[in-house]
Structure formats: structure tokens, C-alpha cells
């Protein structure tokens, strides 16, 4: 695949020829992907295209079998969740991974609590959580000491995203953040996604929703049966083309060569 958008600066995260198999089933076939700081890259693809596997590979949950992951231009090895977290890659999963019985601050710092000696440093954690939420202009929470069980779906999503941002993350991966939300809450989350990019984060945004794609993304990457069909600026494609890329793997002169596409069916 040629690269139609050379000269956009260095991608902060780049995948080259990433492959991944589970037993006899090969899920990812030489996937290339570039994610740029300050931009939202939409990752689209049909069910089973390998979107989840791809982000789990980046997150270190399913380490890659072949190919390369480059972070800030340097090849890195990601073999566990801690590796990706150490690089500054944070993943917000679809099921959010929040503990209902803990409050917002406790969830945001879960697993990485600040301590003074053996004591938890609640005061500094609360201040930092509040600060992060304020930076993202989150105004929908009543209190940072509210239990997560009392939050709406949109608020939970907000907390999960703020949690990812708290860690000076450079790349934030969002897995279908608006899938279960109503109209107003989707709006809030999309605004937040945009602000994430505007504050310099590289955002990889997994979604099924074409409206969302064209609303917030700067680039779109389409996976088709484990292959990257296209990874292009959003301005160069229209909605019909993206749908073709998702469903057929190619659209016009974009996408996978027909022979390859058929071979993988």
C-alpha cells in the first residue's frame, strides 16, 4: 500500500506490518497504521475486522506476533499493559472498567494511587482529578466525590476518558465511546474527544457510527478482514467511500487489491 499523505509530520504511534494469530486463525495481516498528535484518527471496520484485536495489541493485552510498533519514531516492544501505559498509551474500553462502588477520584487513580509513605494522599489526588476534569471543561459532574454508580452513561464515559488523560498520556484509544449513549450524551462525549485532540493528544477512535466519524475525525483508517484497507485524511474521502472500504475493502483506487481481498475471504 502506498502512503498517500506523506509530509504530515511524524506519527506518534505507527504500526508496520503488524500480524496477530490466535491459534490457526490469523486475525491481523500486516496492518499499517499511523496516529498523529493533535488529531483524531477514526478506526472503522465491520464486526470481526480486527479492530478490537488491533487495539488490544497496541495496549499489550494481546502482544503482536510480527511487524513493528513505533512510538515517536522508535521501535518499541509492547508485551503487557504496563509497557503501553509506560509509553503514554491509554485505552478506554467499551465497558469502561470503572468500579461502581468507588468515587470518581478513586476510579481515576485506581491502581496508581498517590501515596505519602503508606498513606493514600487523598487531598492531592482529589485536587489533580478536579484539575484534569476542569482542563477538559467537564461540567456535567456534580462532585468528584460522587460514587460512579450514581453517574449516567455519558458521565461514566467522561470519567473513563478523564482517567486516561490524567496520566500524561500521549495516545488515547477510545473503543466505541458513544455506542450506548443518547443524543445529548453523545454530543458531550464527541466534544470531549475533540478537546482531547485540541490539547495535543493523539486520539484513536473506534466507532461504527459514520456520523461520529465525519463529525470529529481528522483521519480515517478502515480495517477489512484483518487488513488495513485505507489510512487517509478524512477530507479525501466521503461517507460512501468509507462504507465501501468497510464492507468491501476497497473503493475506487483506494483499498486492498481485489485479488488479496478475495483471497482472504
Amino acid at each position: 500500500m502506498t502512503d498517500p499523505q506523506a509530509g504530515e509530520g511524524t506519527p506518534i504511534l505507527e504500526l508496520r506490518g503488524v500480524t496477530k494469530s490466535f491459534g490457526a486463525i490469523q486475525v491481523l495481516h500486516g496492518v499499517d497504521l499511523k496516529v498523529f498528535p493533535g488529531q483524531v484518527t477514526a478506526l472503522v471496520g465491520d464486526n470481526g475486522a480486527g479492530k478490537s484485536t488491533l487495539i488490544k495489541s497496541i495496549a499489550g493485552i494481546h502482544p503482536i506476533d510480527g511487524g513493528e510498533i513505533l512510538f515517536e519514531g522508535r521501535p518499541v516492544s509492547v508485551t503487557g499493559p504496563r509497557d503501553s501505559a509506560a509509553l503514554g498509551i491509554e485505552v478506554v474500553y467499551q465497558d469502561l472498567a470503572l468500579a461502581d462502588n468507588l468515587d470518581v477520584v478513586q476510579n481515576m487513580f485506581l491502581g496508581r494511587e498517590r501515596k505519602r509513605g503508606i498513606l493514600l494522599d487523598e487531598a492531592s489526588m482529589e485536587a489533580a482529578a478536579r484539575d484534569t476534569l476542569a482542563k477538559l471543561s467537564v461540567r456535567t459532574l456534580k462532585s468528584v466525590r460522587q460514587l460512579v454508580s450514581s453517574l449516567s452513561g455519558g458521565q461514566r464515559q467522561t470519567v473513563a476518558i478523564a482517567k486516561a488523560v490524567l496520566w500524561e498520556s500521549k495516545v488515547v484509544i477510545l473503543d466505541e465511546p458513544t455506542a450506548a449513549l443518547g443524543v445529548a450524551q453523545t454530543r458531550q462525549v464527541l466534544d470531549l474527544v475533540r478537546r482531547l485532540a485540541d490539547t495535543g493528544h493523539a486520539v484513536l477512535y473506534i466507532t461504527h457510527n459514520m456520523v461520529d466519524v465525519f463529525e470529529v475525525s481528522d483521519r480515517v483508517a478502515a480495517l477489512y478482514l484483518g487488513r488495513m484497507a485505507a489510512d487517509v485524511p478524512i477530507s479525501t474521502v466521503d461517507r460512501g467511500q468509507v462504507i465501501e472500504l468497510i464492507t468491501a475493502g476497497r473503493s475506487g483506487n483506494l483499498g486492498i487489491a481485489p485479488a488479496v481481498a478475495e483471497a482472504s475471504i
Binding site: P81, R82, A85, A86, G88, Y93, D95, L96, A97, L98, A99, D100, N101, L102, Q106, N107, L110, G111, R112, E113, R114, K115, I118, L119, L120, E122, A123, S124, E126, A127, A128, R130, D131, T132, L133, A134, V138, R139, T140, L141, K142, S143, V144, R145, Q146, L147, S149, S150, L151, L166, W167, E168
Partner: protein, 427 residues
């Protein structure tokens, strides 16, 4: 990586960034009361059922046995009676917080008590060696149980049910068929049967009150100074006063001479009571102020979230079982001290159910994720009041079982209903 965003100074003079209205505390007491009522109506009952239970049962038994129930002698008996149940329940609170259960905790306390008694009686070991050995036995058993649950992955219900049977055999082996080993060591016996000197009791009470007030007020001061969420001063002060009043009243009652004959002096706080208080403070500290405690809540609330947050869930599980079984050992020692003997049936029967009941009555959820160490103390008191009061009434054994079972069922129903209500109202 570990210390991001921290350089930003907290906003001056408590001005929280816009958007967190509730963090600007409603400083009126009525606002706090309203908040509390909302919380209770939303299904977060906290300590309310247990406190109501203690008051209601206290009044009931006082009305039925006005001459014997609220006497200093009986109150002291009642407190000592509550000690083994409470200690066992304290450990179980941790297990229940994970959403697990330890059905073997009672018989583990029996095994550890048997180890203690055997070392004291047969080997003539000094008391501290025997106590340490009993606690070590508890920790070891906990490690075994925790390994089976956390690492092998067998449901805790099954593991501990099997161990419930197996450990009865172990106790029987240590004690011998139908045997009883007396515990004659003065120190061990003294835990439940001797009292603090009256003056020392008052000193400890004063220290406890001052310490509590200092910690509460200091936390309030820090929160206020840094513009964090905090309660109004009046509520903090009221809580300190309430604790002070309870401690003073209990100390005053226990400082009276409660001997039945004029020839002996029987006064002061039983040693077992400060033991419970110290363990209560220690475990509360662990649960609410350390990252281990936070992770216990997280695993109980959402184990998958905890795992993804980088928490070693298996390690937490194993540690919790070690802690719970060690508490069971301490409970076994207290029970051995109170009865001055250990039998093959120690810790069997309804010991465990009383302790689980105590934790649940106190407000710890059987579904995991919700509970505090103080629940064990409040619930332990309720269970002990029932046992003590029914004893004074001379109720027949069959009725005793039925009533205690009924109370447990009631507590579990309150838990389940509160949980449903909480789910419905989003608390």
C-alpha cells in the same frame, strides 16, 4: 509517569473550578441531614440498621429483664461475649468485600485455638509463643485457602465448604476424641477474664477521644484549606462528641464494681475490649487509608476493572484470605480465653454463621464491594445482645436457634432490598 499533573497548585481559597456544585459543601447542618436522608432513602443504609437494632433490642430486653439486663455485670459479660464473634467478623468483612465467602473461618479459629491449647498444656510453651504459633497457623491456613481460590481458581464457597469439613477433623486430631484441653495460662485467660485497672481505663479512654478528635479535625482542616470536598464543622464536631459520649458512658459503667459478693473487687474494662478497639482502628486504617484497602474495594466492585488498572487481583485475594484467617486465629484465642478451654467442637456449629451474620447486620454486603470494619463491631454487638438477652430470658434452645436465624435472614433481606433500591435510584 507515576506523578503526573501534580505540579498544578490547588486553586486558592477553596474556589473549586466551576462545575462541581456539590463540592462546595452545603455548610448548613440541615443540608447534611437532608443529604443523609437522601442517601438512606436511596438504599445506602450504612450503619443505620445495626444501630437501630442495638437500640431496639436493648430496650426490648431491658423491658423484659429490667433487673438483670442493663447491669454493669451483664454489660461487661455481653461485651466479652461479643469479642470472638466480632474478631471473626472483622476478618470476614475483607472476604465479603471481595464478593467471596469463607465458610471455614469458624473451624479455622477452632484449629488455631487447639494449636494454642496444645502448646500451652502439652509442650509448656510460654504464652507469647503459643499465641504467635496460633496466629501463624491461621496465616498459613489463609495462604492455603487463598491459593486455592486466587491461583487455582476454585470458587471460595466450594473451597471453604470442603475446608469446613476437613478442619473439623484437624481440630479433632489435635484435641483427641471427645477431649477438652483446659487453658490455664494466666495471660491467655486474662484476655477475656481480667480487667484493666480503672485509672488506666480512663486514661486510655481520654487518649482515644483526643486522638479521634484530633484526626477528624485535622482532616477537616486540610480539606477545607485545600478546597476539597468536606463536611461542615458542626457535623465533624457532633461526630467527635458522640464518640466521646459513648466511650465515657461505657468506661463509666465498666469502672463500677460489678462483683456479686462484696468480698471481691470486679471493676475496670475487660482487656478484650481495647483489643477489639485496637484491631478495629488498625484494620479500618488498612481498609480506608492504604492502597491495599482501596484495591480490596476495587476487586470487589469490579474485578476486571481492577485487573486492567494493573492491580494484581490474585495477590489481593490471597492476602485477604491470609488476613481473614489470621483474624480467625485471634478470634479463636479470645474464645479459648473466655471459656478457659478448647474442645474438639471449638469453632464448629454456628460460630461462623454468627460472624457472617454480624458482618451483614452491620452493613457489609454479601454481594461484595460494600462494607467497613466497624460493621463487624456493630453487628457483633447485635448478635451478642440477642444471645445474651435470650439467655437471660431463659428461652429454650430451639427458640434461640430460630430467633437468631430469623435475625440473620432479616439482615440479609435488608441488604438485598437496599441493593435493589440502590440500583433503582443510582446510588
Amino acid at each position: 509517569m507515576s506523578n503526573p499533573v501534580s505540579t498544578t497548585k490547588p486553586e486558592p481559597s477553596g474556589a473549586a473550578p466551576a462545575g462541581f456544585e456539590a463540592d462546595r459543601p452545603d455548610n448548613s447542618v440541615s443540608g447534611v441531614v437532608r443529604g443523609y436522608v437522601d442517601k438512606v432513602r436511596g438504599g445506602d443504609l450504612g450503619a443505620l440498621p445495626a444501630v437501630l437494632g442495638i437500640v431496639a433490642l436493648g430496650l426490648l430486653f431491658f423491658a423484659l429483664r429490667p433487673n438483670t439486663f442493663l447491669t454493669p455485670l451483664n454489660i461487661s459479660n455481653l461485651l466479652v461475649q461479643a469479642v470472638p464473634i466480632t474478631l471473626l467478623a472483622m476478618g470476614l468483612v475483607f472476604v465479603l468485600l471481595l464478593g467471596d465467602i469463607d465458610l471455614s473461618a469458624g473451624v479455622v479459629s477452632g484449629v488455631c485455638a487447639a494449636v494454642l491449647a496444645q502448646l500451652l498444656a502439652q509442650s509448656g510453651a510460654p504464652w507469647y509463643v503459643a499465641i504467635l504459633a496460633a496466629c501463624a497457623a491461621g496465616a498459613l491456613i489463609g495462604l492455603f485457602t487463598g491459593t486455592l481460590v486466587g491461583i487455582v481458581g476454585i470458587p471460595s464457597f466450594v473451597v471453604t465448604l470442603a475446608l469446613f469439613l476437613a478442619f473439623q477433623g484437624v481440630t479433632l486430631r489435635i484435641i483427641g476424641q471427645g477431649g477438652t484441653i483446659p487453658v490455664r495460662d494466666e495471660v491467655v485467660q486474662g484476655i477475656a477474664n481480667r480487667n484493666l485497672p480503672v485509672t488506666l481505663g480512663w486514661v486510655l479512654t481520654a487518649v482515644a477521644i483526643l486522638l479521634y478528635a484530633a484526626i477528624q479535625l485535622n482532616r477537616w482542616r486540610v480539606q477545607k484549606a485545600r478546597g476539597l470536598a468536606h463536611q461542615p464543622l458542626a457535623v465533624v464536631a457532633a461526630r467527635c462528641v458522640l464518640i466521646a459520649v459513648i466511650l465515657v458512658v461505657v468506661t463509666a459503667i465498666l469502672s463500677q464494681d460489678r462483683a456479686l459478693s462484696a468480698a471481691v473487687d470486679l471493676e475496670g474494662i475487660p482487656y478484650a475490649v481495647p483489643l477489639v478497639v485496637i484491631l478495629l482502628l488498625l484494620l479500618t486504617f488498612v481498609l480506608s487509608r492504604t492502597s491495599f484497602g482501596r484495591h480490596v474495594y476495587a476487586v470487589g466492585g469490579n474485578a476486571e476493572a481492577a485487573r486492567r488498572a494493573g492491580i494484581n487481583v490474585t495477590r489481593i485475594r490471597v492476602l485477604v484470605f491470609v488476613l481473614s484467617s489470621t483474624m480467625a486465629a485471634i478470634s479463636g484465642i479470645a474464645a479459648a480465653s473466655r471459656l478457659a478451654s478448647v474442645t474438639a467442637a471449638s469453632g464448629a456449629g454456628n460460630t461462623l454463621l454468627y460472624a457472617v451474620g454480624a458482618a451483614v447486620i452491620g452493613g457489609t454486603s454479601l454481594f461484595g464491594g460494600r462494607g467497613r470494619v466497624r460493621d463487624a463491631v456493630l453487628g457483633g454487638l447485635v448478635v451478642a445482645i440477642i444471645a445474651n438477652g435470650l439467655g437471660l430470658l431463659g428461652v429454650e434452645a430451639y427458640l434461640n436457634f430460630i430467633i437468631t436465624g430469623g435475625v440473620l435472614l432479616l439482615a440479609a433481606s435488608v441488604d438485598a432490598l437496599a441493593r435493589r433500591r440502590a440500583a433503582a435510584t443510582g446510588h
